[in-house]
Amino acid sequence: MSRDQSTYRPETLTASRPLLWIAALLSVVMMAPVAWLVGLSIKNNRELMLGTESVFRLPYTLVNYVNILHSSQAFGWFFNSMIVAIGQTIGVLVLSSLAGYAFARLEFPLRRTIFVIVLFGLAVPEQAVIIARHQMFNWFGLHNSHLGLMLPGMSSAFGVFLMTQFFRAIPKEIDEAALLDNASQWRIFWKIMLPLTLPAQATLGIFTFLHAWNDYWWPLISATKKEMYTLTIGIASSQTNFAQSEGLGFLSAQAVFASLPVLIVYIFFQRHIVTAVSGGAVK
C-alpha cells in the first residue's frame, strides 16, 4: 500500500480541536463558582470584609473549617441530612424494587390499573400535596423528627417506573429456568432478579441520595427546631443580615462542608452516573 493513501483511523472519531476548546471553556464557567467558593472558605473573614479580591492573595487559612468543628451546629445538621438521605435512598430502593418486580412479573388483580395510578404520581407536583401532607404529619406528630423528614421521599413513582421497566427487560427464560430449579418466588426475586438489576439500583440510589441531600422545601416546612435542621436549611438559616459581609469565609466553608458527601458520591459512582445520564444513548 502506498504511503500517501490515508487509512481509516479511529482517532478521527474523537472531538475536533475547536470543540475541545469550547468544552474546556464551558468547564471553566462551570467550575469557577465552585473554585470561588473554595477560595472564600480558606480566607480569613476580616480580610474578606475589606474585599473579596483578597481570594487571589496569600495568606490562606483553615480557620473557618476549624470553627465549623467548634462553634457551629453543622455537624448535627450534617448528621440529620445523612440519616434522611440514607433513609430515603434505602426506602426508595426497597419499595421500588419490590413494586417493580411485582408489576413486571407477578399476576394479580388490577395490576395494570394500579401501575397507571402509580405512574400518575409522576404528574402530581409536590406543591399540590404539601398542605395536606403537612396536616397529616401534624396529626401523627411526625414534624421535627427524622422519620417525618424521611417518609415523604421514601417512595418514588419514578423509582417504581424505572425498576418495573428494568425487570421487564430481563428475559423471562431466566425466571423460568429458576422455576425449573425449584426456586420459590422470593428466592427468584432475591437471588436471581435483584442482582441483575444492580445497575438500575445504583442509578436510582445515587439520584435519590443526591435529591434527598439537596432537598430544601420539605425540611424547611417540617423541621422547625434548629436541632432537626438538615444541612441545606441549617446553612440557609446561618445567613443572617450581616453574615455575607462579616462571615463570608465561614459561610463558604459550611457550603463546602455540605457539598462533601455529594462530591464523594460523584467520585465513587461517577461511572454509574455517566451511565444513568447517557442511558439509552448507546446500546
Binding site: 427464560e173 429456568a177 425449573l180 425449584n182 441483575l196
Partner: protein
Amino acid sequence: MSASIEIANVTKRYGTLTVLDDISLSISPSEFVVFLGPSGCGKSTLLRMIAGLEDVTEGMISVGGQRVDTLPPGKRGVAMVFQSYALYPHMTVHENMSFGLENIGVAKKEIEKRIRLAAETLEIAHLLDRKPQKLSGGQRQRAAIGRAIVKEPKAFLFDEPLSNLDAALRGRTRLELAQLHARLGSTMIFVTHDQVEAMTLADRIVVMHNRKIEQIGTPMEIYHHPATRFVAGFVGSPAMNFIPVQRITQNENGTAVDAAGIGNLDTAIRLPTAFSSQSATLGIRAEDISVLSPGQSGVPLIAEVVERLGDRTLIYGRLSDGTKLTVEADGRNEASAGDRLEIALDASAIHLFDADGMAHHPEGE
C-alpha cells in the same frame, strides 16, 4: 434415571385461540423423541406444558407414572435447556449448576460431586469459575446442559438448543448430544424445526402441524412413509416433488397414474375404492429421479438452476407442462441451466396423496 412420559388428550387454549388440539403421545423411558414442525405449530408450547411453564387447558401429563400437570415446574422432575440457554448472568457456571440443587436441599458434598462429574462429561471443568458472558456460544450451551444434568432429572427437555450456534458447531454439538443420550440413557424430548437435527437425533419423530400431531414414527418411517402430504413436504431436503394427477386407473398389480408432464406410470400402490383422482397428487423425492444418459429417452425436463454440492448435484427444472421438479443427480453430472434433460422416475418410490393430503404408499415398501 429415565422415565416414561404420557400425554393424554392435551389441549391448550389462550382465550378462544386453540394452539394445541387434543394431543396424545406416549414416550418410553430412555427414548429420544423430537418434536418437529414449522414455527407456530405448537411444539414449543407442548414442551413448555410438560415442563410446567404453561398450564394445561384440558388433558393430563404424567412423568414416570406420576401425574405432573398439577405440580409446579420444580416438582416435576424434569430439566430444560432453553434456546437462549437462560444461564443466570451474575453467577459463575459452578453457581449456575449448584443453584437448583441448593434449592432442593442436596448436601454440599453431593453437589460438588455431581458438578465435577457433569463438568468432566461435558469437558467444561476449566470453565466452572467463569460467568456466562465470558463463555462462547458453544460453552454456554454446555453449561446449560450441565445445569440440567446435575439435577439428575427423570427427563430432559430441549427447546431448540442448537439454533443459536453456527453451522459447524451445531453439527458437532448434535453429535455430542447423541453421545450424551447414549451415555446417560435418559428420556429426552427435543424441539426443533430443523429436520436434519430431527432425523439424526431421534428414536422417534413427532411431526406437528397446525395444532395437531401429523405423524409419529422413526426417522426412516417418517422419511419413506410420510403419513400426509405435509410430512412428505416438510421432511427431506430438497422437499418432495409434487405433481398433479390427471387420471388414475386401478388394475390387479396396483395403480396406473397419469400425471401432468410425465405421462403414465405403473405403481404398486393399492388405493381404496373410494379414492378419487380429483385433486390427487403424486409425490416423488429428488433422489428417486434419475437423469438419463444422452441418447436415452424419458421424461423431458428443462433445467433452470443447477446447484453443485460436491457429492451430488441438484437440478431445479420444469416439466413440459410447466410443473416444477427437483432432481438429485450425481456430483459429476455436467448439466447446466437451460439444458434439456431426459429423466426417469422410479415408479416404486412414488407416493399418492388424496385431496385431504393423506398418503398412499406402494405395497411391500
